[in-house]
């Protein structure tokens, strides 16, 4: 290991142990701190009762006033220290994990070098391990920081929050691997949802037919995106940006800005809970994940997606129909939007033009954090799933901790930047070694 790395690891180790020590010590003050707080609280309560009685003109004689309690600065510090125990524990454990990780990684590298193997920069496997570890550490931190985190109720909450993004991000993964981007997903969901509402409420179509047509409509939007990008040679950013506004505008126009409520039971049953668990929602999410994962690994369109994203010229020269591949990925993205529209509309039992506003950003963030490169040609479904979970869990955790929306957004932004920086660094080290 390089000398500077050694020093950094030692510092992390030392700080980590120190913080952990603090945390444990602070934890041990629990009883004392609680006793102090209780006595101070009792006294303050009594004084408040006296004040109230005076204001109401009642008799203060029979209010029992305990001995006056004034906490010394020392005692206050003790209470504050105890309150911060979680912070110390979390930071301490994180530092220790980082130190341990760096240490074991260097051991692993050394063992490889000793065996005479060249350092393997083989697949993106190590990257997935990285974000997986980050995710586990994240959950661990949140479990320590908030009692409500590890509850079944909270899990179901998180699941619900991420369900839409989950489905959309799977489609977005294909688009980004192909080297493109789809900014129209949010609008696609909103418009499709409204269309499904209209089909059920005003055209009297059956629920299954509505769902089929709704999804087909979303696919059609995706195909139009694909055609604009291939045959009209529009850059994906511009084409899907235009579609984003077009579809969103259409969503507002179609109902004059009014929401549509109350759908047939068959429709809302998709989001119904069986024994408290949204069964169909889970099944649908898993199905889409399976399709997405299988497609990338075992099908020609999936393989071609990687080729087109990695080197479009070479793909063309290898006999791949590049245009067809591109239309396919945007069509698939559209398909995922249709499914998302179904999930959203059935859960909310309503369709509003503002639905899924900004969905595209969440989807792109999940895909990027999951290790898929914006340049295209690399990526994995598993990575996207972890990316979705990381974003979802962070939002959930920050909500539980009472962090306001502003700082939450800043954290999300920082996360994306960090993920991209790590990706760029990893790519640079791979290229320089190759």
């Amino acid at each position: 290991m390089k000398k500077s790395m050694k020093i950094a690891v030692i510092i992390c180790l030392a700080l980590g142990l120190m913080m952990l020590g603090f945390g444990i010590y602070a934890g041990s003050l629990g009883a004392t701190s609680q006793a102090l707080k209780d006595s101070a609280a009792a006294y303050n309560r009594a004084m408040a009762q006296v004040k109230a009685a005076e204001v109401l003109g009642k008799d203060t004689a029979d209010i029992e006033i305990p001995e006056e309690v004034v906490l010394t600065p020392q005692e206050n510090r003790l209470i504050r220290l105890h309150d911060m125990k979680d912070f110390f524990l979390i930071v301490g454990i994180d530092l220790l994990v980082v130190a341990a990780g760096a240490f074991f990684l260097s051991l692993h590298r050394k063992r490889q070098r000793d065996k005479g193997q060249e350092l393997r920069k083989v697949s993106s496997g190590n990257n997935i391990l990285g974000i997986l570890i980050a995710f586990i550490v994240l959950c661990f931190n949140l479990a320590l920081a908030s009692d409500a985190f590890l509850t079944m109720n909270n899990f179901l909450n998180v699941f619900q929050q991420i369900s839409i993004n989950f489905v959309v991000a799977i489609g977005m993964t294909y688009v980004i691997i192909s080297g493109g981007i789809d900014l129209s997903v949010g609008s696609n969901i909103a418009l499709s949802g409204l269309l499904m509402a209209i089909m059920m409420k005003y055209w009297g179509l059956s629920v299954p037919l509505t769902i089929l047509l709704g999804i087909l409509f979303s696919v059609a939007i995706g195909v139009i995106n694909g055609v604009m990008i291939t045959y009209l040679s529009l850059p994906p950013f511009i084409a899907t940006l235009g579609m984003m506004y077009l579809a969103r505008g259409a969503a507002y126009t179609v109902t004059g800005g009014q929401p549509l409520y109350t759908f047939p039971k068959g429709f809302t049953d998709v989001s119904s809970r069986v024994a408290g668990i949204p069964l169909y929602g889970i099944l649908i999410m898993l199905a889409i994940l399976l399709i997405g994962w299988y497609g990338l690994k075992y099908t020609r369109p999936g393989r071609f997606t990687f080729a087109v994203g990695g080197n479009e010229n070479c793909a063309r020269l290898s006999g791949i129909d590049v245009n067809r591949t591109k239309v396919f990925v945007y069509a698939f993205s559209g398909f995922c939007c249709g499914v998302a529209a179904l999930l959203l509309a059935s859960r909310l039992d309503s369709a509003v033009p503002t639905n899924a506003d900004g969905q595209e950003m969440d989807a792109i963030a999940a895909v990027v954090i999951g290790g898929t490169s914006m340049k295209g040609g690399e990526g994995s479904m598993l990575g996207t799933v972890i990316g979705i979970l990381i974003i979802g869990v962070i939002s959930n955790g920050l909500n539980l901790l009472g962090v306001p929306q502003g700082p939450q957004k800043m954290i999300k932004g920082a996360l994306i930047v960090i993920a991209v920086i790590i990706d760029v660094m990893r790519r640079r080290s791979a290229e320089s070694a190759g």
């Binding site: 393989r303 080197n311 006999g319």
Partner: protein, 250 residues
């Protein structure tokens, strides 16, 4: 290796200012070397042939049948493969594994479009790695991490696997160390043994003279000479015809 029937016939191929009325034929198991100075229009000729660039005029016949080639897909479907000059920017998908690069044009051999048989694919990849002596720690190794020579072998493996009957090679040993060069020549000979018709563009005279059955010489977009490599062909002669300007010679 006895030469077979005529596999490729190019007549009156013209494209822009750089390809003027080029004609040649190639037979099964034959190597046609294309010599000329830089700027002679050799790469432009084959690119037009392969459908990469638009051509203004010309007919292409594969196995006696006229073929319309408007894009590389048409050419590949007609059985033509093309290993370009710049393997990094056009020959390989550097971010993909070297194995997947090898099978990229041949996925139809491993199952229906929605069900690639990964084991079968892996077997084929390992077979080609062995056959062509490609040095790689694993079939999953990213193509960009291979050395130049091994990268070129991957490109050749791709066209070998694709069972293309006509293979165009543009400077196949550029930027490759001597050891790998010889291995590449072996691979080209292997292709010939399988009955492929090879068109090889090269700026290295020794290479042209040692590998080709016949040599086409181009200068400023035109064919200036077509010779059998029968022992009387020398570097000086090739050079003469490569600098002849507009003069035509049989």
């Amino acid at each position: 290796m006895p030469l077979g029937k005529e596999l490729l016939k190019v007549e009156g191929l013209s494209a822009g200012k750089q390809v003027k009325n080029v004609c040649f034929t190639v037979r099964e198991a034959e190597i046609l070397g294309i010599a000329g100075l830089v700027g002679a229009g050799r790469t432009e000729t084959v690119r037009a042939l392969f459908g990469m660039d638009r051509k203004d005029a010309g007919e292409v016949l594969v196995d006696g049948r006229k073929i319309t080639i408007r894009n590389p897909l048409d050419a590949i479907r007609a059985g033509i493969g093309f290993a370009t000059e710049d393997r990094k920017s056009e020959g390989l998908v550097l971010t993909m594994g070297m194995g997947m690069n090898i099978t990229l044009s041949s996925l139809d051999q491993f199952g229906p479009p929605l069900k690639i048989n990964l084991q079968k694919e892996q077997k084929a990849i390992l077979e080609y790695i062995k056959r062509l002596s490609i040095k790689t720690p694993s079939p999953l190794q990213r193509a960009r991490n291979l050395s130049g020579g091994n990268q070129q072998k991957v490109v050749l493996a791709k066209w070998l696997l694709s069972r293309s009957r006509i293979i165009i090679l543009d400077e196949p040993t550029r930027g490759i160390d001597v050891g790998a060069k010889i291995e590449v020549y072996h691979i080209i000979n292997e292709l010939v043994r399988q009955g492929a018709a090879i068109v090889m563009i090269s700026s290295e005279m020794p290479e042209i003279l040692s590998m080709s059955d016949r040599v086409l010489v181009m200068c400023q977009g035109r064919v200036t000479g077509l010779f059998d490599n029968d022992g009387t062909l020398t570097q000086e002669k090739i050079l003469t015809y490569a600098t002849m300007g507009d003069k035509q010679s049989a």
